[in-house]
């Protein structure tokens, strides 16, 4: 799912060699202005179209969210939440859910498969399914509960921020299709400043708690929201207020990593001695035995 050159890789899962550094590219970002989003799901369909995915035709489980969750073939999803404040004023909060492309990606940190998750210098976090071992650690590592393992090939999938489009100077498909201008795309710097401008406009409009969602706990994100109620992010179908990488991942990366590596080394060593002592493992040919 990428046209990026390996020259653009900034970080790589389970890799100890340093990343290339002869060139760098500007960080990009997608800004989702919740105040302009009507939940039309055009972004969902555009995502399916561009990535040539087709979701199963499911059922209605009593909500507008359809399909009812992210999946290996649904990388973005509108989540609808009906929220009443203490004066019974109703809001229908609609949030486009999908990968946030964290600057400090928990999935990448958690991934044990070398090169299965990469981060480009423009900030996009991308999965390389050919290297994925389907362990699901990326799901544990993700503070936003985004990656999904395919039942078909046991590999993890999620939004690529259309890394293939971005690599050739195009905006992601969801941005291109959004009819109301709720999704914009550009350099991270520009998107932050536009997001701050929108925040101010919304505050002047009466949304005192409007704000830009660019959480520091994950080093900021390359997908950001402008929220009318940034003080209550959980109202938006459980958007975490202060997301951070699961301590399990930190443990794996921190104190446990040398231990784990040691464990892997011991296993390899044991295998070596087994080979030297017993010889190669051979599977007996069932058929020839029957014939015999």
């Amino acid at each position: 799912m990428t046209l990026q050159s390996s020259l653009d890789i900034q970080a790589r899962s389970a890799t100890t060699t340093p990343s290339p550094s002869v060139r760098s590219s500007a960080a990009v970002a997608k800004l989702i202005d919740e105040s302009k989003c009507i939940g039309c799901k055009a972004c969902q369909v555009a995502c399916q179209e561009w990535n040539e995915l087709r979701e199963e035709i499911g059922n209605n489980v009593g909500v507008y969210d359809n399909p009812s969750d992210l999946s290996a073939s649904s990388w973005t999803l509108m989540r609808f939440a009906e929220v009443e404040d203490k004066d019974n004023n109703l809001s229908w909060l609609i949030r486009k859910d999908g990968c946030m492309h964290c600057a400090d990606p928990g999935c990448l940190k958690a991934c044990p498969a070398p090169g299965a998750i990469v981060q480009y210098s423009n900030g996009i976090v991308d999965f390389k399914q050919e290297a994925c071992i389907g362990c699901g650690n990326c799901i544990t590592g993700c503070p936003f509960n985004i990656p999904r393992i395919s039942k078909k090939d046991n590999k993890a999938y999620k939004c690529t921020l259309c890394s293939d489009r971005v690599a050739v100077g195009l905006e992601p498909a969801c941005v291109k299709t959004c009819p109301t201008g709720a999704i914009t795309f550009g350099s991270k710097e520009d998107m932050v400043s536009y997001g701050e401008k929108r925040t101010k406009e919304l505050q002047e409009r009466g949304y005192a708690n409007a704000g830009l969602y660019n959480p520091a706990g994950v080093g900021g994100t390359h997908v950001m929201y402008v929220l009318r109620h940034a003080d209550k992010t959980e109202q938006y179908s459980g958007l975490p207020k202060d997301p951070s990488i699961s301590p399990l991942v930190s443990l794996w990366k921190g104190a446990f990593k040398p231990l784990a590596l040691l464990g892997m080394g011991v296993t390899a060593l044991a295998g070596f001695f087994h080979y030297m002592k017993v010889g190669p493992n051979e599977v007996e040919d069932e058929k020839s035995r029957e014939e015999a």
Binding site: G39, V45, P67, E82, L90
Partner: protein
């Protein structure tokens, strides 16, 4: 739309009522978000449901289905009693000063002249007082003090709609009503403009036309007609449904909204006379006086040389309508077994006309049914048993069904006319699959075969078919370019300028040479020297070429006019009535949003003036040139079936059972002038058995019954559901996601219940009224999960003027399935 999609960005207040723009028009909605972000415009939504539009609105107010007139009448009362009207505009640009027949009155639910037996009005008292000494002009009272002037009659009529009564009828809390009224009335000053976006939430009622009239009155009272960011804007529900309307694929009108002849119009002279009005006030443009030119040119386009002076331009070849042929009337006749064959083009009536059961019976009485459609439709399969979804006895149905696969829009070249009245040319993107042919090819091939049969075998009256002009290079498949040039029209002989009064001896100038495409409808003549298939589209393919294909994105005024993008009828004008966007002296009401202005010698500006360019402010000519009055009508004289002022009537299935505007008149509970067929009155449900108000609507994920055939769409909204408020769900013990049965007096459907806070129980006349929301889109054909056609539930009655079915207000009961 009187204005355009892009023009919404010029509004200070966007009112969405009788529609759900975000849901049904997500692409056009970008101009709402644009206005909100760039102009700090406010968005107000009034709807029975908290919709996707409401999700991004500044203010939302609930309303009971079918009570919009009461709400709007309350707004009129609020504006008049709080002096929140644009008085100069009202005095000069509306018929507020006009004197009305002193016999006209309104009493207890009826206007004067009601005939209960005929369910219609004798409208003879619904006219103006005329001055016999002065060309029969209408008499006016400039002081607007006379009790018979429109202003005073209107004030009296709407004073009855107090905020308390409005709240009692509509279920809108009084403070919410007053808040919305305040928003609307706040645009009465020249520096503030409101736009109203509506759709089928207003039209699909037995009082649909009057819903829209009520809003037109409000916009006139506020001075918002003809202004950038203003107008009354109907958002059309198909890419080209504006085009269908303009070409008038209806029996009542000919292309360009020309009234079609009826049995009463025995001669061309009579026909033209009735439809060619005389001015009702001095110095008015009275543009409809050109009717004979439009009609004669149409007859030349249709019949060519066979329409000439000697045969009254083929008037006798025109069919004369004997009775109603609207959709409801056609299917009623089919239901009665009076129709043998039905040619169904781009239409899925089994799903789209109310009372599916009645429709199924009607189709089974046909000898043959021809369906032209790009897709498999429920109509084409009406005879097949799909268990509960279409439980018919196939072996008892003898109708022979033919299916002619047609192309879809991407597989053909032609024009679209969008809601903005802009004609845009498009090219075929891909070859049609299999044996699919364009509708034009199918129709033309049928026509050619029929004409050959008429030529060979004769018939009762072959003339109209045999003489039809059909000069296409391939008569079996007219090219879209040929048809487009034809509807634009051309000069058959030299079109001459009228003699110059200053130099009467000067030989008259040739305006358009014979054989050339016409530049605009001003060139049309009634002597047979011009042909034009639709006067409104004249100019779309001029001698300069195909103006519909223009793609110039320059917008010199910055107001979103884009004068050289496509072609906007009429005359490439983007804002209708734009003369009213300037004050009587010709200065724009708001210099920052200047449409046109008087420059001392002519009207000019960013748009094409909607008045003769040289008819200056001193001429006395009013801005509403399509009325013989020259002004906008607050009082509609005899043009509406149920009265000159919009009045609240309950839906035919009412959850209240009484019209609170006239509680003692049991005969005026629902629209007294609406047509109800025999047997259908009995099919209306009563609130005792069906206590809940219901409405049908679209979802943004789907387009009618088409996209359930597309997998990506089907996945985003896979299965049928109904929406019920959490209070009703609790009362009925219905859990979210559970299957429920929804029943009306005509049938029942089963669907998943979406239990929501977005539909609130409303307090109406002291009792609680619950609303059940029923999205359309599902059926028994396609990739989405099979479902019930929602019109299984809806009543067979329409608006008294347009006969648009009442899909938006009826009664149901709900229980666990």
């Amino acid at each position: 739309m009187t204005n355009s999609w892009v023009d919404i960005k010029n509004a200070d207040l966007v009112l969405i009522m009788g529609g759900n723009a975000a849901e049904a028009h997500p692409c056009g909605f970008k101009w709402v978000t644009e206005a909100m972000q760039q102009r700090n415009a406010k968005l107000v939504v009034v709807d029975p449901r908290f919709t996707r539009s409401a999700a991004v609105a500044d203010y939302y107010a609930p309303i009971r289905v079918g009570t919009d007139i009461a709400f709007l009448a309350g707004v009129i009362n609020y504006m008049l009693s709080n002096d929140k009207v644009h008085m100069e505009y009202v005095k000069t640009y509306t018929n507020a000063t006009f004197l009305v027949n002193d016999k006209f009155s309104f009493e207890n639910g009826f206007f004067t002249g009601y005939d209960e037996g005929k369910r219609s009005y004798d409208k003879s008292t619904w006219g103006y007082q005329r001055d016999k000494s002065k060309d029969e002009f209408v008499m006016v009272d400039e002081t607007m003090q006379s009790p018979n002037c429109v202003y005073q009659l209107m004030k009296k009529h709407y004073s009855r709609y107090t905020p308390e009564l409005v709240s009692k009828i509509c279920g809108t809390p009084k403070d919410a009503f007053l808040k919305v009224a305040g928003f609307i009335a706040g645009t009465h000053t020249p520096d503030r403009v409101m736009t109203i976006l509506y759709a089928l939430g207003w039209t699909q009622h037995s009082v649909g036309s009057q819903n829209i009239r009520a809003m037109a009155m409000i916009q006139l009272l506020l001075g918002n007609m003809g202004r950038a960011g203003g107008g009354v804007n109907a958002l059309r529900g198909h890419a080209n449904v504006q085009g269908i309307t303009d070409m008038c694929l209806y029996s009542e009108v000919l292309p360009g909204y020309l009234g079609a002849p009826t049995d009463a119009d025995t001669t061309r002279e009579d026909y033209l006379k009735v439809r060619t009005p005389k001015p009702l006030r001095p110095n008015q443009m009275n543009f409809p006086q050109n009717f004979p030119k439009w009609h004669t040119s149409l007859m030349k386009a249709w019949f060519g040389d066979a329409a000439n002076k000697d045969n009254n331009f083929a008037y006798d070849m025109m069919p004369k309508r004997d009775t109603a042929y609207d959709a409801l009337a056609i299917f009623e006749r089919m239901y009665q077994g009076k129709v043998n064959g039905f040619l169904c083009q781009g239409f899925n009536p089994l799903a789209a006309i109310p009372n599916k059961k009645k429709l199924g019976i009607a189709f089974a009485k046909l000898k043959f049914l021809v369906v032209m459609d790009p897709l498999q439709t429920e109509t084409a399969e009406f005879w097949k048993n799909f268990t509960d979804f279409n439980n018919v006895e196939t072996d008892k149905i003898e109708t022979e069904v033919f299916r002619l696969p047609a192309t879809c829009f991407a597989e053909e070249t032609g024009s679209f006319t969008n809601s903005s009245r802009v004609l845009q040319w498009h090219q075929r993107a891909t070859e049609p699959p299999g044996e699919a042919k364009t509708d034009a090819e199918i129709m033309a091939s049928l026509f050619m075969r029929m004409r050959d049969l008429y030529k060979k075998d004769g018939g009762t009256f072959p003339d109209a078919i045999v003489n039809m002009a059909w000069a296409y290079s391939n008569p079996n498949n007219p090219a879209p370019e040929e048809v487009a040039r034809e509807f634009n029209g051309k000069a058959l002989g030299d079109v001459m300028a009228p003699p110059d009064p200053k130099n009467p001896k000067e030989p008259p100038k040739v305006l358009v040479k014979a054989g050339e495409q016409l530049p605009g409808f001003a060139m049309l003549r009634d002597d047979g020297s011009t042909s034009c298939g639709n006067w409104l589209y004249c100019g779309s393919w001029s001698q300069a070429g195909n103006n519909m294909a223009r793609r110039d994105t320059s917008d010199p005024s910055g107001l979103g006019v884009y004068p050289n993008w496509g072609f906007s009828w009429p005359a490439n004008r983007r804002v209708l009535y734009n003369r009213a966007g300037a004050d009587p002296a010709g200065k724009p009401w708001d210099p920052k949003r200047k449409g046109i202005a008087w420059n001392g010698t002519a009207w000019a500006g960013s748009d094409v003036p909607d008045i003769a360019p040289a008819l200056g402010p001193d001429s006395g000519a009013g801005p509403f040139i399509m009325t013989p009055e020259g002004v906008g009508r607050l009082f509609a004289v005899g043009l509406m079936a149920e009265g000159p002022f919009p009045e609240h009537y309950e839906p035919f299935e009412t959850p209240v059972g009484v019209n609170l505007m006239c509680p003692s008149n049991a005969k005026a509970v629902s629209n007294p002038a609406a047509r109800v067929y025999k047997g259908d009155m009995e099919q209306f449900g009563k609130m005792a058995e069906f206590p809940y108000a219901a409405t049908t609507y679209r979802l943004t994920e789907h387009h009618h019954f088409w996209t359930k055939n597309a997998r990506a769409n089907a996945a985003t909204q896979p299965a049928q559901f109904v929406e019920i408020g959490d209070e009703l769900a609790k009362e009925k013990g219905i859990a979210n996601g559970q299957m429920v049965k929804v029943r009306s007096n005509r049938g029942e459907i089963k669907a998943v219940a979406v239990v929501t806070k977005r539909i609130k129980a409303l307090e109406v006349n002291g009792k609680k009224v619950h609303t059940v929301g029923i999205p359309i889109h599902w059926g028994f054909i396609g990739l989405a999960k099979s479902g019930y056609l929602s019109n299984t539930l809806t009543p067979f009655v329409g608006d008294a003027n347009s006969q648009t079915p009442e899909f938006k207000a009826f009664l149901v009961n709900v229980e666990k399935a």
